[in-house]
C-alpha cells in the first residue's frame, strides 16, 4: 500500500516533467497537423484564403484529387521511389556495414569518408546529381560513352523512367551511409562471445550469419527500414531541385504535388488533402513498426 502511493506520486511528478515537451509538440506538431486536416475539408482557394468563413465541403477535395490523374501518378511514383531506394540503400548499406565491421586498417577513416555524402545538404546533392546526369557534358554520359557502354548520350532527366532512376540513385548515395551507420552500430552491439560460443559448437560462417547476426540484428533492421521508409517517402527537396517533378509529371511525388497545388496553383484545400494522404501512409507504416517493436520488447 505504502509503496503504491509512492509510485503514484512519482508518476505524477513524471507527468510534470513531460509537460513542456507535450506543450511543445501540441503547438508545433499537433496544431499544423490539425490545421491541415481542417483545410483539407474546406473550399480553400486563392479567393477564400484570407476570409475566415470558408465553406466546409466535406470530402470534395479528396474526391477531386482521386480523380486527378497526376495525383494517382504521384502516389505510384512515391511508392516506386521509396521501394527502389529502400532496396538499394538497405542491401548496399548492409554489405558496407558487414565489410566495415571487419576491423581492418583504415576501416574507420574510410567509413567516415563515406558518411560525408549523408551529411551534405540535400539541395547540394541534388544540384550535383543534376549536373552529373546532364545530357550533354554530364559526367555520367561521358564515362559511359568512353567505356563504350552507350553510343548516344542519354537524356537522363528528360525521360520519365530514367529521371526516376536518377532520383533513386541520387537518394541512395545519401541513404547508403545512413543505413550503414545504423547497421554498424547494431553489429557492434552483438557480443563477441556469442560468436565464440558458436565457433566452439562448430557453426559455419553462414550459419553464424543466419542464426546469430540476423536474429539479433532484427530490431535494428526494423528501425532502419522504417526510418528509411519514412525519410524516403516524404522526399521533397531532392525531387524539387533535381527535376521539379518533371519532365511533365514523370517524377511528381506526393510532397512536390502537394506543394505545387498549394503554392503554384493556389488550390490549398486539395494540396492539404494530398499532404494528408501522405500522412496517412506514413502513419500506417509507423504503427506497423510500433507493433513489431512492442512485440520484441515483450519477449
Amino acid at each position: 500500500m505504502q509503496s503504491n502511493k509512492r509510485e503514484k506520486k512519482e508518476q505524477i511528478l513524471g507527468y510534470f516533467f513531460i509537460v513542456p515537451a507535450i506543450i511543445y509538440m501540441l503547438t508545433f506538431i499537433g496544431y499544423p497537423i490539425a490545421y491541415n486536416w481542417i483545410i483539407s475539408f474546406q473550399d480553400v482557394t486563392a479567393k477564400t484564403l484570407g476570409s475566415a468563413a470558408r465553406d466546409f465541403i466535406g470530402l470534395e477535395n479528396y474526391k477531386m484529387i482521386f480523380i486527378d490523374l497526376t495525383f494517382r501518378k504521384a502516389l505510384l511514383h512515391t511508392f516506386v521511389y521509396t521501394i527502389g531506394c529502400l532496396v538499394i540503400q538497405f542491401s548496399l548499406g548492409f554489405l558496407f556495414a558487414i565489410f566495415f565491421a571487419k576491423k581492418f586498417a583504415l576501416s574507420k577513416p574510410i567509413r567516415g569518408f563515406i558518411v560525408i555524402s549523408w551529411m551534405l545538404p540535400v539541395t547540394v546533392t541534388a544540384l550535383v546529381f543534376k549536373f552529373m546526369f546532364a545530357e550533354s557534358n554530364g559526367i555520367i554520359n561521358t564515362i559511359l560513352m568512353n567505356l563504350h557502354i552507350i553510343r548516344q548520350p542519354i537524356g537522363w532527366l528528360l525521360q520519365g523512367n530514367t529521371a526516376m532512376l536518377g532520383l533513386i540513385i541520387a537518394n541512395s548515395w545519401v541513404g547508403i551511409p545512413f543505413n550503414m551507420l545504423l547497421l554498424t552500430t547494431g553489429l557492434n552491439n552483438i557480443p563477441e562471445d556469442i560468436y565464440e560460443a558458436a565457433s566452439i559448437d562448430g557453426a559455419s560462417k553462414i550459419q553464424k550469419f543466419l542464426k546469430i547476426t540476423i536474429p539479433l540484428l532484427k530490431p535494428t533492421i526494423m528501425s532502419v527500414l522504417v526510418l528509411g521508409f519514412v525519410l524516403t517517402f516524404k522526399v521533397f527537396d531532392l525531387v524539387y531541385v533535381m527535376t521539379g517533378g518533371g519532365p511533365v509529371d514523370a517524377t511528381e511525388v506526393l510532397s512536390t504535388y502537394s506543394y505545387k497545388l498549394s503554392f503554384q496553383l493556389f488550390h490549398f484545400g486539395e494540396g492539404a488533402a494530398v499532404a494528408n494522404v501522405l500522412f496517412v501512409c506514413l502513419f500506417l507504416v509507423a504503427l506497423v513498426y510500433l507493433k513489431t517493436i512492442s512485440k520484441d520488447e515483450v519477449i
Binding site: 506538431i29 490545421y35 491541415n36 486563392a46 484570407g50 545530357e135 537524356g155 518533371g246 510532397s255 500522412f279
Partner: protein, 437 residues
C-alpha cells in the same frame, strides 16, 4: 501509458511530412532542408541590406520592403535606392529584405493566414492578380487617383488592377529578345535572322557537336510560359485559343528545332538563367532572353561579343513580345501611409528611370522616353523598341493555372510524350475547365 507514448512517437515521426511539403499554411513549416538553405542564403545576404546604413532609425516609422532582386546582382541597386530614400527624409526608415522569388511568393500566401506580411513588397506582374484576389495587398485606388504624378503605361498599370480596384504600382518592365554570338555569325558569314525560316537556317549552319544553334528555357513553371509567348503570339496564336492553327504552328516550329538538334532537349529543365549559362559558355550560338541578363553576361563572359535582335517573327506573322516585370504593392494591414510615400518615391519619374536602368528593366512610366534614353545603346535600344508593343500575361487571377496548362503542353511536346494536336487540345480543355470550377 506506454502505448500512448508510442503513439506520440509515431505522430512525431510522421509529423515532418506535413511540414516538409509545406502544404500546411502555418509558418512553422519552414524546417525542410531546401527551405532552410534558402533561408540561410537569404540571411547570409541580409547584412547587405540597409541595416549597415548610417542613418539612424530613432523615432522614425520603420517599414519593411520585400524584394527578389538577388543581392549580388540587381539587389545592390535596390539597396542603394532604399538607402537614398532613408537619407532623403527623416520620417520613414525602410528596411529592404531579399528573399528568393519562390520563397517570397510562398511567404505572401502564408502571410495571409498568419498575418505576418511586410509593409510593402514586390510581385511578378502575371501573379499580381492572384495575390490581390487572395487579399495579400491593400486597395490603393483612392490614393492613386489623388496622386498627381501617376503616369504609367497602360499595359503595366493594368496588371495591378483586380476587379476594378488598384492593388499596386508597376516597378519595372522587361521583355524578350534574341541574343546572338557575333563571332559565330560572322565566322559563318550569315545575317541575324528575322523570321522563323531564317532562324532555322542560321541554326542549321551554327549547330555543331559542341554548340547548339539556340538556347531557350521551356522549364515547367512561369518562365517556360513566358518564353513560349513570343512564338505563340507571332504566329497569330493566343492563350485563349490554343487549338487554332497559329497556336499549333508555333509549338510545331519549336519542336521541329528540338527534333533537328538545333535546340537542346534539355531546355525542358533549363531556367532562363541556365540558358544564359549555355550562351555565355559558347555552347549555344543564340538564346532567347531578356535585358536582366546583361549583368550576368558581363560577369560570366566579359569578352563575349554579342548582339541583340527582336525575337524572329513567324514567316507570315508580326514581331511579338511579352511583357515581363515586377510590380510593387502595399500589403494588407500594413502601414499604408509610410509605404505609399516610399513606393511613390521609388516609382517617381526620376527614380524609376534610374533604378530600372541599373537593374536591367525599363521604366513602366509613360513619361520616361525609353527609346530616347537608350538611343545610343545598341543592346538596350532593341528592347526599348519592342517594349511598347509587349503584351501582358493575363491579367487574370487564374493566370497561374492558365500558365500551368501552357508550360505542361510545351513540356509534353518537347519530351515527345504527346503530339502537338493532343497536347494543345488537352491544354485548352484545362483552361476551359478553370472557369467552370
Amino acid at each position: 501509458m506506454k502505448k500512448s507514448i508510442a503513439l506520440l512517437t509515431a505522430l512525431a515521426m510522421v509529423a515532418g511530412t506535413l511540414m516538409a511539403c509545406g502544404s500546411s499554411t502555418d509558418s512553422s513549416s519552414e524546417s525542410t532542408v531546401a527551405e532552410t538553405t534558402d533561408n540561410i542564403a537569404a540571411e547570409s545576404e541580409a547584412p547587405a541590406s540597409t541595416d549597415s546604413d548610417t542613418a539612424s532609425t530613432d523615432g522614425r516609422t520603420e517599414i519593411t520592403f520585400w524584394h527578389y532582386m538577388s543581392e549580388d546582382k540587381e539587389g545592390k541597386y535596390v539597396n542603394q535606392a532604399v538607402e537614398e530614400f532613408n537619407n532623403s527624409q527623416d520620417e520613414i526608415y525602410v528596411t529592404a529584405q531579399y528573399l528568393p522569388r519562390d520563397e517570397l511568393m510562398k511567404q505572401y500566401t502564408i502571410g495571409v493566414v498568419s498575418g505576418e506580411l511586410p509593409d510593402c513588397g514586390m510581385v511578378d506582374n502575371p501573379d499580381h492578380n492572384s495575390y490581390a484576389s487572395m487579399g495579400v495587398f491593400e486597395d490603393i485606388t483612392e490614393l492613386y487617383n489623388s496622386w498627381e504624378d501617376a503616369n504609367f503605361m497602360e499595359g503595366s498599370i493594368n496588371s495591378c488592377y483586380y476587379e476594378g480596384k488598384l492593388y499596386g504600382l508597376p516597378w519595372g518592365n522587361n521583355c524578350l529578345g534574341l541574343f546572338y554570338n557575333k563571332e559565330m555569325l560572322d565566322a559563318a558569314g550569315i545575317e541575324v535572322p528575322t523570321t522563323w525560316s531564317e532562324l532555322e537556317a542560321v541554326c542549321e549552319k551554327l549547330t555543331t557537336d559542341t554548340c547548339k544553334g539556340l538556347a531557350i528555357s521551356a522549364i515547367g513553371n512561369e518562365e517556360g510560359t513566358f518564353q513560349y509567348m513570343p512564338w505563340l503570339l507571332s504566329s497569330g496564336g493566343s492563350v485563349t485559343d490554343l487549338t487554332s492553327d497559329g497556336s499549333k504552328e508555333s509549338m510545331s516550329y519549336l519542336y521541329n528545332l528540338i527534333e533537328k538538334g538545333y535546340v537542346s532537349r534539355e531546355c525542358v529543365n533549363w531556367t532562363q538563367a541556365d540558358a544564359e549559362k549555355q550562351f555565355a559558355s559558347g555552347q549555344a550560338a543564340m538564346m532567347i532572353n531578356g535585358p536582366w541578363q546583361f549583368s550576368g553576361l558581363a560577369d560570366d563572359a566579359p569578352d563575349l561579343d554579342y548582339g541583340v535582335a527582336k525575337v524572329p517573327k513567324a514567316d507570315n506573322g508580326e514581331y511579338a513580345s511579352v511583357l515581363g516585370g515586377e510590380n510593387v504593392a502595399i500589403c494588407a494591414g500594413a502601414n499604408v501611409e509610410a509605404s505609399w510615400k516610399f513606393l511613390t518615391w521609388i516609382t517617381s519619374k526620376e527614380k524609376s528611370q534610374d533604378i530600372c536602368k541599373s537593374i536591367g528593366r525599363f521604366s513602366p512610366r509613360a513619361d520616361v522616353d525609353i527609346q530616347e534614353m537608350f538611343a545610343d545603346d545598341p543592346l538596350n535600344s532593341v528592347f526599348a523598341e519592342v517594349m511598347p508593343s509587349a503584351q501582358s500575361r493575363g491579367p487574370s487571377p487564374d493566370w497561374p493555372e492558365i500558365s500551368a496548362a501552357i508550360y505542361t503542353a510545351q513540356q509534353e511536346v518537347f519530351t515527345g510524350q504527346k503530339d502537338v494536336d493532343t497536347a494543345m487540345a488537352d491544354a485548352q480543355a484545362k483552361i476551359d475547365a478553370i472557369g467552370s470550377k
